[in-house]
């Protein structure tokens, strides 16, 4: 019911916005006037029908179908509306989605998420749903259905740069996670074994975490700059005050606390009787670590890695400020040029990347949960 009311309310807000060029503020266009009636009528019908299906609380399958239908209607309207509006406008005109579209998108997505969680899908189904969603988005983009939108027009001349930024962003987010895991997991195991090391290390890592990200990047600049000038060998492998290296290092430092703390928590979550039994039956320290402690602590450890991955995907945007590359480059360019579409070109893929990473990690965490049966 909530979704339907919100959906109806969002119809009042402008659906698309038409501007004379990429800088000026656009004028809102209402939902029903966005496209010629032969397109808008069936699209609106789909949207309404989908939201109505969403009302059937007891039929989650129909609710999923409803969410998919309304999403289809929404994008149809967006695609057709953009094309129709541009046809009558000037050469530099830009059409972008406005508040109405974003609200409806969020409502449909929430409906979909709510209906899907009602179905309680297993990890395999969720992975399949994610893959299907990604395929649909890719298909939508590939088919050029959204190429009339302003953000696509920002993308067109920057194709190579966007791909480059994507790869750089992945390196920043996943590379720093990898290095942090490589350092943090053994540190976590050591902290678990030696309480004195834990008492010294965890506060230090917590302190690192409290440094604001901009300040952290700032600290890296003179530090690595000095190293770069003092040691030519370091400079040769790309260590300098600005660029990839300081951004990467800052992200690794941020990642250490969640990785180490969750490794310790994961190992500590193992019941004392299990630990005692593992020792008592004659497992060596290493056998206990790899056969008992890590497998049983894995869900908590992976939760730490998930936090890091989502956090770093977002934080890597700030790396754009010190020449670290990634999607942040477009965000800051856009901010400088007051070009909202360019900001979105950096922000939307970042959000999508973080969401996909979070869902994939959630699926992994669920797979590694120890077997559970009926409690008696």
């Amino acid at each position: 019911m909530l979704f339907l009311i919100l959906g109806a309310a969002s119809c009042a807000a402008p659906f698309l916005s038409l501007a004379a060029n990429r800088i000026v503020v656009g004028e809102g266009v209402a939902l029903w006037r966005a496209a010629p009636v032969q397109h808008s009528a069936p699209a609106l019908f789909l949207l309404g029908l989908g939201l109505l299906l969403g009302l059937l609380q007891s039929r989650p399958v129909l609710r999923v179908a409803g969410a998919v239908l309304s999403l289809a209607g929404l994008f149809w309207l967006l695609s057709m509306g953009a094309a129709a509006l541009l046809a009558d406008a000037g050469r530099y005109a830009r059409v972008s989605p406005a508040a109405g579209f974003w609200c409806l998108l969020v409502i449909c997505a929430l409906l979909l998420a709510d209906a899907l969680s009602q179905l309680q899908p297993g990890p395999r189904t969720r992975a399949a749903a994610l893959a299907l969603t990604l395929l649909c988005v890719a298909g939508l983009l590939k088919a050029g259905l959204l190429s009339d939108l302003s953000i696509a027009q920002e993308f067109a001349p920057r194709k190579a740069a966007v791909l480059d930024a994507f790869i750089r962003h992945l390196w920043l987010a996943f590379g720093s996670l990898g290095l942090a895991a490589l350092i943090g997991l053994p540190l976590g195991v050591l902290c678990h074994r030696h309480s004195r090391l834990r008492e010294a290390l965890l506060p230090l890592l917590s302190f690192l975490q409290t440094i604001p990200s901009l300040a952290m990047f700032g600290i890296m600049i003179p530090l690595l700059g000095w190293i770069g000038t003092q040691f030519p060998a370091a400079q040769a492998i790309g260590i300098a005050g600005i660029g990839f290296a300081p951004a990467f290092l800052a992200l690794v430092l941020y990642s250490l606390l969640p990785v180490v703390a969750n490794t310790v928590a994961g190992l500590e979550s193992i019941p004392p009787a299990v630990r005692d039994a593992a020792r008592g039956i004659g497992m060596t320290t290493w056998q206990r670590l790899f056969r008992i402690e890590i497998p049983l602590g894995l869900p908590v450890i992976l939760t730490g890695l998930r936090i890091v991955l989502v956090q770093n995907t977002g934080l890597a945007v700030i790396a754009g400020l010190i020449g670290g590359g990634g999607f942040g480059t477009f965000v800051f360019q856009g901010l400088n040029q007051t070009a909202t579409d360019l900001i979105l070109l950096g922000a939307l893929p970042t959000v999508a990347l973080a969401m996909v990473a979070a869902i994939v990690m959630d699926i992994l965490i669920e797979i590694t949960q120890p077997q559970r049966g009926s409690e008696t």
Partner: protein
């Protein structure tokens, strides 16, 4: 034969276990009884070196336990604890086969041993082999815990309050199972408990510990009849002493010729149950089954004579 020789453990210069010496015969159950803080668990854990002894040594078949690396020693000694400590991510079969796998037994030999043990504990192998511990009831989990401890046919089985987490009915059944399986396999068992009832039910020998010292070590009847200290007398339970004594003796010991009304009882029935039957049915004597069909009976008077304390 397991020899414990002057074993001691100190915490902050205070003896948790104070120069304990005793000998455990092969193929018997010795139960170590004591209140919490008596040092009984520490004593047990020093035998498989989960705790290091500050003085003294343990010899298994004449071989000192500190001549082996601790993890190798522990693979030779079964270990079962309260709350079972099963590995939640291992199937029942992998749990039971854990020690043989550590010892490098071949795959098919482990599988055969697992099935053998499951059957021994009245659990259908095909039904339980591939399940996970969380899918089992508390009593079943506990049986798997004991099966795991027995899997590699260890020289010695250490059990630390193995039945502590079970309700009374399941516990009694588990105790009977353990007794039956110990008899069948001829295992040597050292079991720690705070429950004297359990000690009397299970023990061939009972060792009573108090304040880190071994205060008495002997047969259950010996300990009930002649408690060495006031503490032991309290442990064997003032008013219940005669009944506990009777529970250890079979009717066969005091059977006499003669007739009595009612249905005949088995000669293996213990005297406590026979007494209860007399009192409940208001009879002075009960008929006892015999092999050759001759009339035999046990009288209330004879039972009473058995329950009488010294002096």
């Amino acid at each position: 034969m397991i020899e414990i020789d002057g074993l001691s453990k100190f915490y902050d210069n205070k003896a948790a276990v104070d120069a304990v010496s005793m000998t455990v015969e092969t193929g018997t159950i010795t139960v170590i009884v004591g209140t919490s803080g008596s040092g009984k668990t520490t004593l047990l854990r020093m035998i498989n070196r989960l705790e290091t002894a500050d003085a003294g040594e343990v010899r298994i078949h004449g071989e000192a336990t500190d001549s082996l690396a601790p993890h190798l020693l522990r693979r030779r000694i079964g270990y079962a604890i309260q709350g079972h400590g099963l590995f939640p991510h291992y199937t029942i079969a992998r749990n039971i086969g854990a020690v043989p796998a550590l010892l490098g037994w071949p795959e098919d030999q482990i599988r055969a041993r697992v099935d053998e043990l499951l059957s021994l504990f009245s659990m259908e192998p095909a039904q339980f082999r591939d399940r996970y511990p969380a899918e089992l009831s508390g009593g079943q989990q506990q049986r798997v815990g004991v099966a795991r401890a027995l899997a590699s046919r260890p020289d010695l089985l250490l059990m630390d309050e193995p039945f502590g987490a079970l309700d009374p009915i399941i516990r009694a059944r588990a105790q009977d199972d353990l007794r039956r399986i110990q008899r069948a396999l001829g295992s040597t068992i050292l079991l720690v408990t705070h429950d004297m009832e359990e000690a009397i039910r299970l023990g061939d020998r009972i060792a009573v510990m108090d304040g880190g010292r071994l205060v008495q070590h002997g047969s259950p009847t010996g300990i009930i009849r002649n408690p060495a200290t006031g503490f032991v007398a309290e442990m064997v339970g003032g008013v219940e002493r005669p009944l506990r004594l009777l529970s250890l003796l079979p009717v066969a010991d005091i059977v006499e010729p003669g007739t009595a009304p009612g249905e005949a009882i088995a000669p293996t029935t213990n005297l406590r149950d026979a007494l209860a039957l007399c009192l409940w049915s208001g009879r002075d004597a009960l008929p006892v089954q015999t092999d050759d069909g001759r009339a035999a009976r046990v009288t209330l008077k004879a039972i009473r004579a058995q329950a009488q304390g010294p002096g």
